[in-house]
Symmetry: C2
């Protein structure tokens, strides 16, 4: 391995539209496939470094479109999930996975405690402390954020095709997710499923659990099948449809009021 420190890769987080008016804060933890130079190729072929195990293809394009459509802040990762999966806690074997679906990640094999610590300090903590600060600052000035995380999933998993096109997932509070799922069924023509292809029980709601649930923020995790958002045009079209779904859903949530 190189002697370059991980920090030479620059900030692991980028914030777009930090002063946006919308209460929504969009989060895209798997936005990028970039590897820091300090880690070389992780032992992967160029093809694998661009596969769905390295990032969520199309998710950033959709998230950017939602940021424009909703006029909402977007917090996005700049490095591959194979370096550190920001939607996993530091003690998860999946935080720095040595295997993902059918792929081995050779240079993630046999990581030491110091390796994990270095990635936690260089990537996990700056990303989540940045997001925490943005949420806390809004709460301090009387704004209630709504957290929307944007992901994509592979259409074929261990050889089995997945029918779901839009998964709508929640952590402890299901209110917004149920509204979004109902609206998406009614208006998008997509095959929509609640808590599919994953749910909180699979450990995929770490970001929501860390940032939304402690502050009782309404939240939803959107999982798009990545074959539907493979091109910039498809991403823009999906963002338009989901902007309408979220706008109507937030209005409905506000009309229903916050339960005691």
């Amino acid at each position: 391995m190189s002697q370059l420190p991980l920090s030479a890769a620059g900030s692991p987080v980028t914030v777009i539209r930090a002063d946006a008016r919308s209460d929504v804060i969009l989060v895209c933890e798997h936005a990028a496939h970039r590897l820091p130079r300090a880690l070389g190729t992780l032992g992967l072929t160029p093809e694998t470094r661009l596969a769905h195990i390295a990032w969520d293809p199309g998710a950033l394009g959709v998230a950017r479109g939602l940021s424009r459509g909703l006029q909402a802040m977007l917090v996005a990762a700049t490095l591959s999930r194979l370096v550190y999966d920001l939607n996993r806690p530091p003690d998860s074997p999946q935080a720095c996975a040595d295997r993902s679906e059918v792929f081995d990640i050779p240079d993630n094999t046999g990581l030491t405690a110091d390796d994990r610590l270095a990635r936690t300090e260089a990537i996990y903590l700056p990303f989540h402390d940045t997001l925490h600060g943005l949420i806390a600052r809004r709460l301090a000035v009387g704004r209630r954020p709504v957290l929307v995380t944007v992901h994509s999933f592979t259409p074929v998993w261990f050889g089995t095709p997945r029918a779901t096109e839009l998964g709508v997932i929640h952590d402890a509070d299901d209110r917004l997710a149920r509204i979004v799922a109902d609206r998406a069924v009614a208006t998008t023509g997509l095959r929509v499923a609640l808590n599919d292809p994953y749910s909180a029980a699979d450990g995929v709601t770490h970001t929501l659990r860390l940032h939304a649930t402690p502050y009782r923020l309404p939240h939803v995790m959107l999982e798009l099948r990545n074959d539907l958002i493979a091109t910039p045009d498809a991403q823009a079209d999906m963002a338009r449809r989901l902007t309408a779904v979220l706008t109507a859903s937030l209005a409905q949530l506000a009309a229903e009021g916050v339960p005691a």
Copy 2:
């Protein structure tokens, strides 16, 4: 008000025994009654600035004794809860309270959004990001922290005496709290109560909710009636008794194992 920035008060957090062996991380959010020079006296008399509304009298002495007894890290506040109550989120009216029990806090009346933002940035975020970093670093190297927060409460509240001497409070996971309460009943001679004089429903478990619950860390909040820990000797004695209670409780928790 002075033109001094809040940051001139120095760090809002101090960490003792950062490299300690114990899995316990002790937290004392209400350790101090110090006001930053930038905020003057908050309009309070010298007596009120030392009253229980400004800090948890005796809690830091007990927490320091526990840190010695358990050989455990201690994370403590350096400023009064009247400037920012670190056990409250930034949107809570109690974060920068203008009234506490029977006392008005004159200079906290009519705070602007900018005032709240400045205190959140100078006090709340550095304290909780420090604690988050310490927890995440331990998780990264394979250690599972146990969070123990140490508080004290006033023996007379709105004129009514409180019978409880040790309150044992939990957030989502009650396992450690139930064990600690049972041990304390059996061995300390104190009048012990679970979730009294407060409980999570009163919003007093913000620190646990922010740091323990998202990582599923065992946790407990200890609330001591402050007349029992009014002197350094009493604090040392209480720390000795609680060190024994916590040591036995952690052994029992480990023996019972983590539920699926």
